[in-house]
Each structure stands twice: as C-alpha cells, then as structure tokens.
C-alpha cells in the first residue's frame, strides 16, 4: 500500500467582491490592477465566519464516509481565532473524532498546512497513525488601501492522508527554506506587512524553484511527465511566471488558476488549485504541486491519481460558481474592519 491523500474537502464562502469595486474606492485604474495582479474578484467570508468555522466546513466534507481513525489533526493558518489556544483541538471536538489524536496548529505564512502535510505523511508512512487530517484555512486580512486588499481572500481546504484507498498517491516531496522576510505580522499588529517586489524574485520564485527542481531531480521526473502542475497563488501572475521559468506549460497549470476568481486564501490558496485540478485529473496522471510560505519556504510534492479519483471526485467548479457579489462597505463589515 502506498501513502496518499484518501479524501479531501473544501469551503469557499459565497460572497465575492470585485477588484473593480475596491479599485474605485481608492481612485485606482481597475484595468491596470486586474492586469497587474491577474485577479478579478475574491472570495469573502461573512462576519460570522472565521478560519475555524471554514475549517469545520471543509473538514466535514473531507470526513464524509471516512472510516479510518484520525490519529493526527494539524491545522495550518495565519489567521487563527486565538493567539494562544489551539484551533486543532476545537476542530477535533467539532468533528467528534475522539481524543486519541495528536493535535497541533502550524504557522508558516501560506505554507503552514503543506509543512503539516509532510508531517502527516511521515506519521502514516511510519505506521504511527492510520490517517491524519490536515487543514488549511484562512480569513486573510489586509490593511485597507494596501495592495493585498485586492487579493487577500477567505477559504479552506482539508485533506486526509492515509494508506488505505488513496485517490492520490504521494511519490515524494522536497522542501526548500531560508530566512527571507518578505511578508510578516508582528504580535499585536492587526495587518500583515510585505516587502513589495521583494516578495517576488528572491522569495516566491527562488523558493518554489528550489523545491521543485530538487523534487524533480530526486524522483527523476521532468516537467513534461506531468499532466498538471499547481503553484501557490498569491496573485494570478506569479504562478504563470514560475511555471514558465520551470518549464511547465500554460496548459498544465490552467485548471489550477482559480485565484483570478477566488483571490488568495493564504494557506488554502495552493490547495485550492489542487482541489480545482482534481475535478479533471484522470487515473495515472501526475500532478506537480508546490506551495510557498513567506519567511520563506516551499514544499513541492509529486502526486499520481489512482482509479479511485473517479469515484471520489468532487465538483469544485460548482462550488466556485455559487456566488453573490457584495459592495465595499459590506466587505468591510464582513472583515470586521467597520
């Protein structure tokens, strides 16, 4: 048996705000911003929703029909509901998975959950647990008028890692890390800061290239061996550029590029691209998946779809299409800014 992802779930809030509606508030040229960021609208959670409620939604979906005991629950977020007090145990309680599970919250900007995914894989492979639930959930906040305001979005993705009946087997992974402070938020500060263009070349591009090149080399794959590739999506331009730099085609990544309609749900962003791709992947096809977390690091994975994907496939595009537009004041209320 081979370790893999045996189930998954997602939650995309219903509300959307158009980039045009944010740009007009600040007197900005909408077309210039849409073109510059490659994002047209983003998903917004309501004032009643937070990273924990969304995590419950996506995890409930992933847990549906699962019989394997959850031996670990890892919760990756950069918008935890408590500064001190784990979200993972609250989620475990809500999911009613008993008490015999290892729980912790992880923090590493947008890759908090993929690091936890590696931990879950290791626990399953070493037969310490039967299955582990990994959640990526964020209600990403941004300072009004900051460039992040056009992209910072809400959403959650949950995956369950196990050995029995995987829909995606994990061929291998590689991580690339360094002290590169391109995006940060100090304790007690409400909104994150970022280094503008510093978030690009020395950060996102360098780290994703580092993890992807290593995993391809280690597993002896080349970009053309993959039907799909998924890269973290802080905006709509970076994943397209990094794909081109690494030798992946537009065709390989286009199913994953949901950022133009959903925005960047931080820890959930890259995984949103993965679950969007799972709607189309066929048995035997390979997916290259790479996250990015500011600070900085990237985790790259090689997945292969099994026959079971046909049975467990979820229609992510349907969820994406269920949307309702809100105006800027409503957006501010949803984000509890006013």
């Amino acid at each position: 048996m081979k370790t893999g992802i045996i189930s998954y779930g997602y939650y995309v809030p219903q509300y959307r705000i158009r980039v045009a509606d944010i740009a007009s508030v600040w007197g900005k040229n909408t077309l210039e911003i849409e073109r510059g960021l490659g994002v047209k609208e983003k998903a917004v959670s309501t004032a009643a929703e937070d990273s924990l409620t969304m995590a419950y939604e996506s995890s409930s979906m992933a847990m549906k029909g699962q019989t394997q005991p959850i031996g670990a629950l890892f919760f990756g977020t950069e918008s935890p509901v408590y500064a001190v007090n784990p979200s993972s145990t609250i989620l475990g309680e809500l999911l009613d998975i008993g008490n015999n599970y290892l729980a912790y919250d992880t923090q590493f900007a947008c890759k908090a959950a993929t690091g936890a995914l590696i931990s879950a894989i290791a626990l399953v492979e070493s037969k310490q647990i039967k299955s582990g639930l990994v959640v990526a959930s964020d209600k990403a906040a941004s300072r009004p008028h900051d460039a992040l305001e056009y992209t910072a979005a809400s959403g959650s993705v949950s995956v369950i890692v196990g050995e029995k009946n995987p829909i995606l087997t994990i061929e291998g992974w590689e991580s690339f890390s360094s002290d590169t402070p391109d995006f940060w938020r100090r304790e007690g500060i409400k909104y994150p800061s970022h280094g503008g263009r510093f978030t690009g070349k020395p950060s996102y591009f360098k780290h994703i290239a580092g993890s992807v090149k290593t995993v391809l080399s280690k597993l002896r794959y080349k970009p053309t061996d993959f039907t799909y590739a998924v890269f973290h999506m802080p905006n709509g331009k970076f994943p397209v550029q990094v794909a081109a730099q690494l030798g992946f085609s537009t065709e390989q990544i286009k199913k994953s590029l949901v950022v133009s309609e959903l925005g960047n749900s931080y820890t959930a962003s890259a995984l949103m691209g993965l679950v969007a791709t799972l709607e189309y992947v066929k048995p035997g096809e390979k997916i290259l998946f790479a996250s990015y977390g500011s600070g900085a690091g990237s985790d790259a994975f090689v997945f292969t779809a099994t026959q079971l994907i046909e049975k467990k496939r979820l229609m992510f595009s349907k969820k994406m299409s269920e949307k309702k537009y809100i105006d800027y004041p409503t957006y501010l209320k949803c984000m509890r800014i006013i």
């Binding site: 900005k28 210039e32 800061s193 503008g196 263009r197 510093f198």
Partner: protein, 383 residues
Amino acid sequence: MKSHIIGYHTTQFGELWEKSLFDLVEETIDGVLKNTHIELGKIDAIFFGNMLGGILENNLHAGAKIADIFNISIPIFRVEGACASGGMAVHLAQEYIQSGKGKTVLVVGAEKMTDVQPEHITQGLISAASGEEQECGMTFPGLYALMARVYLKKYRYDKSNLAAIAVKNHAHGFLNPTAHFKRKVSIQQVLESSTVADPLGLLDCSPVSDGAASLIVTSDPAFIKKRGGITVLSSQVATDSISLLKRNSLTELKATQIAANKAFSESKIVRKNISLAEVHDCFTIAELFAMEDLGFWKKGEAGKRAINFETLRENNGPLIINTSGGLKASGHPVGATGIKQLGELYLQLTGRAEKRQVKNIKYGLAHNVGGSGGTAVVTILGV
C-alpha cells in the same frame, strides 16, 4: 592647480536586496581604487554623500564606519544636502583640495532605500521639505505636481510634454548597463501609468533605488599626468527658500539659476559650449525647469522642445541631456546621484561611455537639486 576627476566607479543601481548601505560603499570604493590603480594610502580624505542612513536605518557616524571597513584613519566627512548630497560632497571635496588641505580625495555617495516600506521611504524623503509642507501631509511627488500644474497651465502644455522627458531618459537608460531601468517606454505608456500626484504618473517619477558611486578628485600633477582626467572648471552651490510658499515663482528654481550663472561665470565658458549635461530629473517636470533655469532654453520653451526630443542622443543635436538615463531611468539612490552625474560626464568626456558615447564633446555640466529646489549644485567639467 584646478581639481581633476581621474577615476569613477558605480555599482549597479536598482533593488539590491542582498547589499547593505556599507556593502555598497565598500564595493564602489574598492571599484574606483581598482579602476585608477591608486592605493588607499594615497587618499588624503573621503567625502561621503548620503541622506537617509540616519533616518531609515539609525545608521550615522558614517565616517568612522568607512574607516572601520578599510582600516584607515584619514578625515572622512559625511555630507547631506537631501538629493543634492552627492553634488555637495564633490563640491566640498574640490574646495578641500583648493584650500590646500589635501591633494587627492575620494568622493563616495550611496543610498540604501529599498529595504523599507514605501510609506517609510516617502516619510524619510519628505524630511527634506519645510515643516509646514510636512505637517500638511505633502510629499515630493505632491510638491513637484503642484509646480507642474502651474507650468502646464501657464505655458499651455499637457502631460505629453512631461512624458517626453521620461521617454528620452528611458531610451538613454536602455544603453546604460548600470541603470535601474534598462527598458524603453512610449509616450502612451507614460500617459497611461497610474497617477501618483496629478499630473505626474508613475513613469513621470524617478524610482527609489539602491546604489553607490565614487570619484577620485585630485590636484596632484603626477596623478593627472599619469591618469589624464577631466578638469573641474567650476562647482557652485546655491540655496533658496525650502518652502514653495515663500517662492516668487512656482515655475522656476532660483537656486539652479544662481548656481548656474556663477558656474558659467567662473568657468568662463558660454552655454552653447556645453554639449552634454546630466540634469536633475527627479520628476519629468524637473528636467523642463532645469533646461530653462540653467539657461539652455528660454522660459516656457522647454515643454515644446522636450516633445521634439531635441536632447535625445540619437537625434545628434547640439546638446544631449542625461545619457545615463537621468534619475528617471538610471535610478535615484539619493546620495549617489550627484556623483553618478559627474561620473557619467567623466565617462563621456574620456570616451569611455561605450554604447551611449556622444562624440566631439569638450564640456559637460552636472545639475543636482536638493528637495524641491532648496539647494542646487551646478558643476562644469572640461577636457
């Protein structure tokens, strides 16, 4: 003997995230010593142009820091005159030589600007404006935009007359390997760039850059004989009211006019002798002012002559402006800018400007402005 510039070095200008302020200083001092084959032991003093080290990085007492890097004990002076810090440093260096305090001095200018948030750099730069201007929330793009509005209205020009300056300077920067921006832009692109402070768009504004540049200035006959060099015919500094409120005119910089008149008077050359100049185009409107205030063009003419691209190198006119790309395309690491301007003239006058070389030139002029015109330095060099 007159002071001569006998060597120049510049680092790359741009977003140099892996380098600190003093990494850049060290790189360019090493570079200029290597270029000239002069040992540091032959240098009598160092003048360091820098504006923001104290504000952005809490990084002062720069002289001792430079001494520490090179294990030296010579006099080192930090010179600050906002964006004219580099030009002021060269001015003081040649005055030091002329006063007989030393024969050979090294002038270095550097700025580290891209490590901080845009709001912090904007706040740091506006420290060079008046207290009233700071208190009302003004920024330098805002101050120059006010002046641009008055100029465009007074002489019936529009934004395209400003945009032409950016187009020309980007065309020049395209040929400069150390420029921050090595790409051409069109009038349309400038006009469509996002508004920073109307009528100035993003492409009307010089960038925030990291970089350092250095020169060796000497009156030592042995060095001049060995290295050749370019004569500093005149270096003049003038000042004016820091606040726009106290100015008689918002379409000219009096400090530039005074410094230029004194420089031409001292150097005993006339304006038509100048065939190459590096002028202070922190914003496109600033180059229009410079051309008029330096006396190259008549008042109100600059908008029209700019859009005719008279000073574009490839048009082979009698006066070429900003072959380095200017502040606009070459970049504007504040303390380094005035030194880079003189360095560009040095390269051109000694035939070392490679793809952007202008032929048959004998004299060059550099014009470096602090703030919105509170300080101006005009330097005239000759072969």
